[in-house]
Amino acid sequence: MSDRINRRDFLKMSGAAVAGGATVAATGTAVAATSSIAAGVKAALPKAKGPRLVIVGGGTSGLTIAKAAKKEYPKFDVVLVEKRDMYSSCFSSNLWYAGLINLEFLADHSFLDAARNNHYIYFNATATGLDRAARKLITSEGEIDYDFLVVAPGISYDYGRIAVKDEETIDALRTTYPGGFISPTEHVTIRRKVQEFEGGVFVQYVPSGNYRCLPGPYERACMIAAHIKKNKLKGKVLVLDANPEITIKKEGFHAAFNELYKGIVEYKSGSAITGVDLGKKMLKTEFDSYHFDDASIYPGVRASTLIEQLGLMDPKSPQKEAMISQTKYNLIGDERVYVTGDSRPHPYSKSANTANTEGKYVAKVLAARAQGKDITWYSPRTVCYSMVSAAPMEAIGVDAGYVLNKEGTAVAGFSPDTKLFEKRNAAMGKTTLEWARGMYRAMFEG
């Protein structure tokens, strides 16, 4: 039932992200604000009642840290800066495509409730600039002074990874064939695509690198295939994978493709997209080209562009991730500024469970440092289920931890207690839903 993941698999999976760990002296330079708010205008916030911890980003990482930091050190005056005014989770969104959940499952969670239940401030604004020398975050709604700043903005897409550089094609891909791994509006679009699919070829692209939610594209292929199967459509899901093999839970996914969706899912490994012709609906790979009727093109990821805009990026990072300590998460040279979640440079799986467990650890780091102390590193945990069958619901899973290198400075591989659960079953199908409900409770309830 369970298999260990070895170090080689780990390195393969994490790809280039393992490299890095550059150390560059931090400069206290201010990054220019693009805000239309005049410089010096303060955000309309209650006066801080303790050391102010400002968190940018209300995803799994930011919401977890806001709650946990307040719990760890109640003196913190926590402000969560989030540009969205309506939450909807990226995790579990694939289940919607097969009708296993509804939008309410993903979106019936309020930032206001999270803030009220956990005694912090939800501030609906977009971060636009940072003055680290003056410890000011600049937002679309004014400046916020901080004692500690956590930046957890998630990912941005990198269309350069599929050799698309012109803005017109990027815009067309973004709009018509969205990746569906960032924003709720993409999920709504993909749900509609699936419902309106009348047959032919639906391409699901899997990018290279340490992209968000390693099993996500394969799970989505299963969910779309389940829809095709249920509705007896004359169509198939063509999974074009930039990687040489399925990146995680490969036995479980291959079994699903072969046993549940024979003739409905076609899997092509080593098929990195090298060009697109949207007029002809063609995708080019090194040796082949493929026609598609509809698609979700997940082009590859980089850290959120905000990391670069705020001057927190490691210039040597292949995915433009943050230049932070791998064990303490602070920007190299600045113990007031932290980067967490999917903008981190660690080779962790970019998943909600990782962000949640990491967030609890980082909250402890912040609480300790606010009191002039420090704590010992411990690993986040990647507990991640993937639904492979819709009727009946059946899933596969992984439970992974991580270990540091000998020097204790960077993540080197999976922990020995890492396990894969690749034989799909109905019990894990139900667990997949309860896992998500637990995540929502972890972020929104008190």
Partner: protein
């Protein structure tokens, strides 16, 4: 039951939690009116009749708060000092003729998964499981937490930090009867009510879910209680 009454019944712990006091402190059991455990038909339970393959679910001290009753099939470990985020307490060990019987809250201390009529992610597995490998563990599959019920239910694996709440049992040897009389760590009960208020109101009715369970509580085998849908991780 309203909050005031809850706080009164739960004694100082809940009030201290509300006041935001977080220093480690003794966390004594809170006494509740004695509840006799019965079988699914309401007939007083005989400890000798308890099966060892599965846990039983009963509700205590409130109508909606689920607990596990487990016949370990072998004597449990000795009484021991346990620590949790809210403080430390003495786990009194098992009861019964052979010291085999223990009870804990069936609510995972991580993110509160619990057995419902629709299914259960948390279970007692008498045999080795894919996740826990060792037999005789309480396992919550939602986020992979493992607890050892023979030793006071400390967490052995996973993101849960606190042990499962221990339920104090009283054993009447003459009648081979079991009673639940107390619970440690009642802060979790408040958290359970806060987190699930919507669902509990829908299932039990407004206010009803936090009423005391009464003089007796039915202990039902988990797989029957959960409609046959129990996790297997």
């Amino acid at each position: 039951m309203d909050r005031r009454r809850f706080v009164k019944i739960c004694g100082g712990s809940a009030a201290m939690l509300a006041a935001g006091l977080r220093t480690a402190r003794a966390q004594p059991y809170v006494d509740f009116p004695k509840v006799r455990l019965t079988d699914a038909a309401g007939v007083p339970l005989k400890a000798a009749a308890l099966k060892t393959e599965e846990a039983y679910v009963f509700h205590f001290p409130y109508r909606s708060f689920p607990c596990f009753l487990i016949n370990l099939g072998k004597p449990a470990g000795a009484a021991r000092e346990m620590s949790s985020e809210a403080g430390s307490y003495q786990w009194p060990g098992a009861v019964g003729k052979d010291g085999n019987i223990v009870a804990y809250s069936a609510v995972c201390t991580h993110e509160l998964s619990y057995p419902s009529k629709e299914g259960s992610e948390i279970r007692y597995s008498a045999t080795p499981s894919p996740l826990a490998e060792k037999p005789g563990m309480i396992i919550c599959c939602a986020h992979d937490s493992v607890f050892d019920p023979a030793a006071g239910a400390p967490r052995l694996h996973g993101e849960a930090r606190d042990p499962l709440l221990p339920v104090r049992l009283e054993y009447d040897a003459a009648q081979d009867a079991l009673y639940a009389t107390g619970l440690a760590g009642v802060q979790l009960v408040e958290r359970f009510f806060r987190n699930y208020r919507r669902q509990l109101i829908a299932e039990y009715g407004a206010g009803v879910y936090k009423e005391p369970i009464g003089a007796s509580s039915q202990a039902v085998i988990l797989s029957e209680y959960a409609g046959g849908s129990v996790s297997t991780c």
